[in-house]
């Protein structure tokens, strides 16, 4: 149990996907204009990563390994993720309009979010078992959501700040991200 907690904490804070692994920077800059959409995007990402990780885990060990076609890994994973996103979108379109209102618009963006593919691949390359896979699949996107939320709160204030003309918009946001990475790197070594 302790190991699992350590692993989760490390994935959220120390090896944060955005700040130390540079994954998911596009939605990080794109969907961080206000904190409400940051939370929506974060939740959708957690859900998709968890589902996609479980499916790819079983597909890899039960189908790919048994049929000796491990080299199809990448193409399997990307198709599974894309299909899963379509399925989820269709499902919530049909059965829950309110959920669709809050999360639906972020779903199409997730197919090309590299965090999803990264987590699915990472579970296999690190040789995680089922429990570790599940922990990883929750902790990594949780770290993504945490940083996305903090970042959006900073950005809401940044609008009223006096920024040099050429730094307006994305460049200053990247400087802020750099400073956040500096702050997060101070947490190295706590686990």
């Amino acid at each position: 149990m302790g190991e699992i907690l350590t692993m989760a904490l490390a994935a959220v804070l120390i090896n944060n996907v955005v700040l130390s692994k540079f994954l998911g920077v596009c939605p990080f800059l794109g969907v961080s204009k206000n904190s409400k959409s940051a939370v929506g995007m974060g939740l959708a990402v957690i859900f998709v990563i968890f589902g996609a990780s479980l499916i790819t885990y079983f597909l890899y060990y039960q189908v790919l390994v048994k049929m000796h076609i491990e080299y199809m890994q990448l193409i399997t994973f990307i198709l599974v993720i894309a299909a899963f996103v379509q399925f989820v979108e269709m499902f919530i379109k049909k059965y829950s309009a309110s959920l669709y209102k809050n999360l639906g618009i972020y779903l199409p963006l997730i197919t090309t979010n590299c965090v999803v593919l990264y987590v699915a691949q990472d579970n296999i390359t690190q040789g995680y078992n089922l429990i570790e896979t599940m922990t990883n699949a929750i902790a990594v996107p949780l770290g993504f959501m945490l940083v996305l939320y903090l970042f959006s709160c900073i950005r809401e204030r940044l609008d009223s700040a006096d920024t040099p003309e050429s730094f307006k918009g994305n460049p200053i946001a990247l400087v802020v991200a750099g400073l956040m990475a500096l702050a997060f790197s101070g947490l190295t070594g706590i686990v």
Binding site: A10, I14, N15, Y71, M72, I75, G127, T188, G189
Partner: protein, 168 residues
């Protein structure tokens, strides 16, 4: 219905072609990749025991940190072992044991420990005095100010000793 069928057919043809290409390329590259991996591992082993023959031994224990064991034709064993220090990326090392189980050789293959702190454990001078020449039951030295890295090294050596002692 007819339209759905034609869509499925189109996608099916495209993916069949893709599958064919991937399978074909894999057929070409797979042996090359395997050969490369063996060659790079051999290169590291050569650093420790130049000009010797190496045999790969199957590791039957359940320690996840043992990455591989090699025999140097009758005179030594080499254990490839990993351990976690300060960084979340593991330290990977090759540890050579002579016939008595004394550490005769040690090289660090990769590490991401902090420069100037943990990295002091990997300086050649330190490796030569602290690790090399220690018998099976002797403790290895620590570096003050680099507790996590030193402990990781201790654990790695203990794991390697454990794996090797089963072979004697």
């Amino acid at each position: 219905m007819k339209k759905t069928l034609s869509l499925v057919l189109f996608l099916g043809i495209i993916s069949a072609l893709s599958g064919l290409c991937i399978g074909y390329v894999n057929g070409i590259t797979e042996p090359l990749i395997a050969a490369n991996e063996l060659a790079s591992e051999k290169q590291n082993l050569e650093l420790m025991y130049p000009g010797k023959e190496f045999i790969t031994i199957d590791y039957t224990g359940d320690d996840e940190n043992i990455l591989g064991i090699y025999e140097v034709s009758g005179e030594a064993y080499i254990v490839k072992v990993q351990g976690y220090g300060y960084s979340s990326t593991p330290i990977v090392a090759l540890i050579g044991f002579d016939t008595e189980g004394t550490i005769s050789n040690l090289i660090i293959l990769s590490n991401q420990e902090t420069n100037g702190y943990g990295s002091r454990c990997f300086e050649e001078e330190f490796i030569n005095t602290a690790y090399i020449g220690k018998a099976m039951d002797e403790d290895v030295d620590m570096v003050s100010g680099a507790t996590l890295t030193s402990t990781a090294m201790q654990n790695m050596i203990a794991a390697a000793r454990n794996a090797v002692s089963a072979l004697y």
